[in-house]
Amino acid sequence: MMIRAFFNKSLLRFGIIAGLICISSSPMALAKESITFTDVTKETGITFKHTDGSSGEFYIVEAVAAGLALFDYDNDGDIDIYFLNGSPLKGTKSKTAPKNALYRNDGNFKFTDVTEQSGLGDTGFGLGVTVGDYDNDGDVDVYLNNHGPNVLYSNNGDGTFTDVTKKAGVGDGDHVGAGTCFLDIDNDGDLDLYVARYVVFSYDKHKAIKIRDYLAYQGPNFYALPPDGLYRNNGDGSFTDISESSGIGEYNGSGMGIICADYDNDGDTDIFVANDNMENYLFQNDGSGKFEEVGLMAGVAYNFNGKQFASMGVDCGDYDNDGLLDFYVTSYVKQSTSLYKNIDDGLFEDVTSSAGAGDGTFASMTWGTGFADFDNDGDKDIFIATGHLQTNVEKFSEHMVYNTRNEVLMNTGDGKFVNITEKAGGGLKVELSSRGAGFDDLDNDGDIDVVILNTKSGPTILRNDTNNSNHWVQIHLKGTKSNRDGVGARVKVVTKDLSQIDEVHSGRGYQGHHGSRLYFGLGEHKKIDRIEIRWLGGGVDVLKDVKADQLITITEGENPEK
């Protein structure tokens, strides 16, 4: 086991606050402080501006761009940022082709644009991205799910990347991309690849809708819907398209956000696809890499009263600490987001209203989302990126606007949420049209910060300035028998009365990636009684009596369960 302790930059602040707060015996006692975010975008040096490639023709792909990825591309121990960008669509004139942008984290919220050096400046129309070590060589690779040909970038281990799409065979034709995930479908130790596809689009079939005689984006139902793609990793740097044989190819849909997770606790990874304006799909893995679509039976296809909605992003996490992974799905305006509580036996209950998990989301169009314990109190809160889809919505609607405020729902610890956006600091006052959002500890101070991609605008970087003395632990997994990133591994952290689980995902939220390391808030607990890692393939490692407030790297097989 390798342990790396990170000194908290605000240790002094925490110490003072801790001295002032009356500590109670309950871990929840410290959870009442509001979560606070500060907009530090201007200080970061990030100058990226997203472009959607539009020229007034209202091509559907413009409206849904794009996701972002947070990952440590250079293995230096801090999280870097990768923004997707659009490219000029038919009829759009552009002097220089917009590129995706990679920003290296230099610490203290300072970033340097390393796009050129890294070779990650793809000029395709970026929609979805995921990150994973598909070749198990110890560094993370990047897969882009574009409108147009997709790209797989292999990390050379020296801060540069090489386009290996052709060799890997994952160009995926000429589709409109969406979310994408690396996952190990058959527990063979390497990462396979799921590629969501949105609609079948072509310029000649394109037609914008008119709302009150204003041109506007057409919904996905106007187009034919494609099946998604699944590629099996051959272990030699190449992949085989197994969409048909796996069962995935039987289902046409308007996939957007996706997440892969073992929702039924059977030791293999399943796939949740958030579909736009139709039922969501939940592909249950039989353990061999064959999938059955069970969304309807499981109760996640629709909302509680059976209404379909326009799903956008999806994340999973155990919000109520019952040992089962729940799903949270964002959606269209005048549709609440949805929280699907896992009630075991492969079944879910839509508890959005009773849990207050949709508070403040009805009036907004919601996109990027994530479960994250922003106040380190031992339960997962929810962040929701919002922004209208129609760029000209103000012209035909008097009560809707394009740029809106993002939302934060704080978990109150009793299975309920409260919308605290108003009280969540200046960072939540920013009004832009957000899409992808990622959640990671950018300054290694023990709390989770936020990065948001705003369409047709610069990003928003929010520093978590939540003022409390709660403890935490961050866990980074290193697979040896299973895949190198530990994608799909389940981690259980137990501290006295508090038991939490999480799983490593590659690809999540709205067509993006974040959270390669796992975050656990510990409340007042300074020590963790037990950390249990269940690796894909069945291996189990256990660590006992671990000090809090550190990032731990755990390597598979180094702490076998006795």
């Binding site: 009150r212 309807l296 109760g299 609440s336 009630i343 036996d345 079944l347 209203s353 009773s354």
Partner: protein, 407 residues
């Protein structure tokens, strides 16, 4: 003369007159907008359809605001205004218009129901419940409102409250059948509520009851399938899921066929469609508003509040310029007060132009006579007589003028 100047002073200073001024200014603004937009053909972002819709929308907005201020108590007016506000996606304004009318008509079931519906559609669930409860108190026989209340409780995640609301009705008096209650919906909602409360046997009971009444209730099959899954009966779950899927596919086919038929028209003619909707609302709102102004103007005339009546008729004509009766009544006001007879003649001519009826000819004839134009008076009244030869009043008036009687 003093009285007249007092009236004029009131006209320029009174609140009613101020509103009229605003009203006229607004209309001038619309006219200016029409001219400017027609000249601004080079502006690429605005299509002719958008221009036309924008004009009509602004016009509606001005009228709605004005008439609601003058007749806040009128239910019909509030309904039409709310319709317009909803069409413009201004639910808050719609609810405000309806709530204002409700202040004057606290026993209006219709207003309460409309406020609740608008609130529900826009996610204001607490408000929806409040007003559906009021509606139910006003019209207890409207038992279906219980379904609406229960549905709203569910949207709030208050499943126990939803179930209580429905159980009260279902079990009120055993054996008694309430014709006004959609039992299928009540049973379905009960089933759904119990499903969320994890009382699966009860959920099954009620969903099955709903399906006995309405076997084609697609969502009933869906929820029952979910219930059976929770009851660990996958066979039955599958059975109902298949029924659900089959019915869904059939519905989708029907929808697709309809959409194919409509698609081109809908996509290409949204401006026309919007304009039709706005025009219909404008017609209804204007007609109701002008009628109210007419009644009000007549009443003010009979109370000899002539200046007020003058303002009222002006407003009536401003919002509904196609109604001949407004011009005739306005002309009559001047005839009664024996002033502005030239204006009265113009108004009466306009009435005839809009509608060449006997009544309008008679009015115009009388004004010609009062303006000492005996020849035209006789010709005009002859036309009235030709249209209604049996009406003795026209003949009497004609004879009186012919004999050269005093005006």
């Amino acid at each position: 003369m003093n009285t007249h100047s007092n009236h004029l002073q009131q006209f320029s200073q009174g609140p009613l007159e101020k509103r009229l001024c605003r009203f006229i200014i607004a209309f001038l603004a619309i006219a200016a907008f029409c001219i400017s937009t027609s000249l601004a053909a080079t502006e690429p972002e605005i299509t002719p359809g958008q221009q036309a819709n924008s004009i009509i929308e602004k016009q509606l907005s001005v009228i709605a605001e004005e008439v609601l201020q003058d007749f806040p108590q009128d239910i019909q007016l509030a309904k039409f205004a709310a319709e317009f506000y909803n069409q413009c996606e201004r639910p808050d304004a719609a609810v405000a218009a309806l709530e204002q009318a409700l202040k004057y008509n606290p026993e209006s079931y219709e207003l309460c129901n409309r406020i609740a519906k608008t609130s529900f559609a826009n996610g204001s669930y607490d408000k929806a419940i409040t007003y559906w409860r009021k509606a139910l108190a006003i019209s207890p026989e409207k038992l279906d409102l219980n379904n609406n209340i229960a549905e709203t409780y569910m949207a709030l995640g208050k499943y126990a409250e939803a179930v209580t609301q429905l159980e009260k009705i279902i079990k009120k008096e055993k054996g008694e059948v309430f014709p006004a209650l959609d039992y299928s919906k009540s049973y379905f909602l009960l089933g759904q509520g119990y499903l969320q409360l994890r009382q699966y046997e009860k959920a099954k009971e009620y969903l099955e009851k709903a399906l006995v009444i309405t076997p084609e209730h697609r969502m009933g099959h869906y929820q029952l399938s979910k219930t059976y899954m929770r009851l660990k009966n996958p066979e039955k779950a599958k059975e109902h899921m298949e029924l659900y899927t089959k019915q869904k596919a059939e519905t989708a086919e029907r929808k697709e066929a309809w959409a194919k038929k409509r698609k081109t028209a809908v996509i290409n003619n949204t401006a026309d469609a919007d304009r039709k909707v706005f025009s219909r609302t404008l017609t209804r709102l204007s007609a109701r508003g002008s009628r109210l102004y007419l009644v009000s103007g007549k009443s003010q005339s009979s109370q000899e509040l002539f200046n007020k009546a003058e303002t009222t008729f002006q407003k009536a004509i401003a919002i509904d310029a196609g109604q001949s009766v407004l011009y005739r009544q306005f002309a009559l006001l001047y005839v009664m007060t024996n002033r502005k007879l030239d204006r009265a003649q113009g108004l009466a001519k306009k009435a005839v132009e809009l509608e060449p009826s006997a009544q309008n000819y008679l009015m115009l004839g009388r004004i010609y006579y009062q303006n000492s134009d005996r020849a035209n008076a006789l010709i005009t009244i002859e036309k009235a007589i030709a249209l209604e030869p049996g009406n003795p009043l026209y003949r009497r008036t004609y004879n009186k003028i012919k004999k050269g009687a005093d005006k």
